[in-house]
């Protein structure tokens, strides 16, 4: 690895120096949201201290500065995921809003009664419910591609679902509950052979790997800023320009219009057509700062380091008697979901918290996944580039000790 220094990276994240219940924080809830480097925090302070005004509005200096910063963040996002142009980058609240946007614009315009939408059995609720709502509105049918016990998509079963009625496939790139990385290129290839567009939910994948939307050839890609070391309240919808051009707008308001009279309104061009109202200016600017920070480290370096962390954590976890890993896909990101014999995940969560360790205990907004494994919930340790093997040792010692206490 070229110059990847986890200790140096840790210094960039002020919160990692916090003590929780008098113990050093071990933050392993990165799949829920990850912590912010100083550069991101500073960018917000700097914007509000020196450059802030509304964007795309006034001719005054601050509005110009703010607009420049806002639009340069769009270019950073474009470069980060290798989109063809800035017009393909729509700023939204987060991955959830992006999926709802596609469902309510592209979906309503193109998906009709009897048509089919395919998702997988490992989706987050945010990639289930918007489609259920669309199906309710249009009479379309939601089809669910099954997974196996390792937590992998059963590709042959997925392929069987494709037919002339399939109008859209919406699949998670990397599962938040299981860590599974889906064979998205294969899925997109099969879908495009039938002219079916594909949306990838990249909320989990984006902080862990290089994402190149041209190479993937996906039609839509969505993610949230806060899982990419950026702030909450901002996310991205990438869409191929031709698709976005043809879609009706999502919300009406300022910024998304070119001309308004009381009899008719002419919509603005891309990307503004989908950005009604004053956007999260500071959020977008700070997301740009997060991307700069990650680009300097290199996504391939992050991926390689996290693969090492996951392998180490998996090996240690398998050595603990009574621990069962939920999600053992061959192709997997840095997430370790597990259950313990006779100890509920909520108790695991509280016990580990008393040791300064933050994990997630619950259904991870993926209740169908919990049903599939017949567990009410799981405990989930999810790793980021600033985690260390020492922290994994602390986690595993904690688990071993709490098993003893519960006896």
């Amino acid at each position: 690895m070229t110059g990847f220094d986890v200790n140096k990276i840790r210094q960039d994240f002020p919160i990692l120096a916090e003590k929780i219940r008098n113990k050093p924080l071990v933050y392993l809830d990165n799949a829920a949201t990850c912590q912010k480097p100083q550069a991101v925090i500073d960018s917000i302070v700097h914007l509000y201290s020196h450059d802030y005004a509304n964007v795309h509005r006034g001719v005054h200096t601050l509005s110009v500065r703010s607009t420049d910063l806002f639009e340069s963040a769009r270019t950073k996002v474009k470069d980060f995921i290798n989109a063809r142009g800035d017009k393909e980058i729509i700023f939204v609240k987060g991955a959830t809003e992006a999926i709802n946007l596609v469902a309510q614009t592209y979906g309503k315009a193109n998906i009709h009664s009897g048509d089919e939408i395919i998702i997988t059995a490992m989706e987050h609720h945010s990639n289930i419910v918007p489609w259920q709502m669309l199906c309710e509105q249009t009479g379309a049918i939601l089809k669910v591609a099954p997974i196996n016990l390792q937590g992998e998509l059963i590709y042959a079963e997925f392929e069987k679902l494709l037919n002339d009625k399939t109008k859209l496939i919406s699949v998670v790139h990397m599962s938040n509950a299981l860590g599974t990385i889906n064979p998205v290129k294969q899925i997109i290839g099969a879908a495009h052979a039938r002219n079916i567009p594909v949306l990838l939910d990249g909320a989990q994948a984006i902080p862990h790997m290089t994402v190149d939307v041209q190479e993937l050839d996906c039609d839509f890609y969505v993610f949230s800023g806060h899982k990419l070391y950026g702030p909450t309240g901002v996310g991205v919808l990438y869409g191929k320009q031709a698709l976005l051009e043809a879609m009706p707008p999502y919300q009406g308001g300022g910024d998304m219009i070119r001309k308004v009279t009381f009899t008719e309104t002419e919509y603005n061009t891309l990307p503004y057509k989908f950005e009604a109202g004053t956007p999260d200016i500071a959020g977008v600017v700070a997301l740009g700062a997060a991307i700069d920070y990650l680009t300097a480290i290199g996504m391939e370096n992050i991926a390689a380091y996290e693969a090492e962390l996951l392998a180490y954590a998996t090996e240690k976890a398998l050595a603990i008697k009574g621990l069962r890993i939920i999600g053992e896909a061959q192709h997997k990101g840095a997430i370790l979901s597990f259950v313990l014999d006779k100890i509920h995940p909520h108790d695991i969560g509280t016990m580990l918290d008393s040791l300064g360790i933050a994990i997630r205990a619950g259904h991870h907004c993926a209740m169908p996944v919990m049903d599939f494994y017949q567990v009410p919930a799981t405990a989930r340790a999810s790793f980021a580039m600033y985690n260390t093997k020492t922290e994994i040792d602390v986690l595993m010692n904690g688990i071993t000790s709490l098993i003893e206490v519960f006896g």
């Binding site: 219940r21 016990m351 206490v405």
Partner: protein
């Protein structure tokens, strides 16, 4: 190692978690209500056998964390033989204790249930302790549908 948690996880709680009391389906129950905490997936079914307004028997089934299992287990013990009014009064007291609004709450007045007072310090876990009691409340109101803490 877990010294900080002694108030929350008292030995009585571990005991009820390992060996829950009245853990069975009651075939001839007069009241049967399902309680669900969607946040953590805790799920329990409470069965009551009534004799007039006296709770003659109480039992439960379900799966949950140690706090919720101990809470429902203790509750089924304590409400047997109580009238509906007495049980409702206990619920009120239990609720006051777990939400911790009254700093001068008299723990002695609530007997065995005092072992659950520790949840006051853990807002994320209060619902684990109160699920059983919300379910009981619904059962006493003779609400047959399932209830949820959310």
């Amino acid at each position: 190692m877990f010294d900080d948690l002694r108030d929350l996880y008292q030995e009585v709680i571990f005991d009820h978690n390992r060996n829950p009391r009245n853990f069975r389906v009651m075939d001839n129950a007069d009241r049967k209500v399902e309680g669900f905490n969607p946040l953590c997936g805790d799920r329990l079914t409470l069965f009551l056998k009534m004799n007039g307004d006296v709770i003659e028997e109480a039992s439960f089934q379900g799966s949950g964390c140690a706090i919720s299992t101990a809470s429902v287990s203790l509750m089924t013990e304590i409400i047997q033989g109580k009238t509906e009014a007495e049980a409702k009064q206990l619920f009120k007291k239990f609720h006051e204790m777990t939400t911790g609004k009254d700093e001068h709450f008299n723990l002695e007045a609530i007997g065995k249930l005092a072992v659950l007072a520790g949840v006051r310090e853990y807002p994320a876990r209060v619902k684990c302790a109160t699920l059983a009691w919300h379910t009981l409340d619904a059962a006493l109101k003779n609400e047959q549908q399932s209830i949820s803490t959310e």
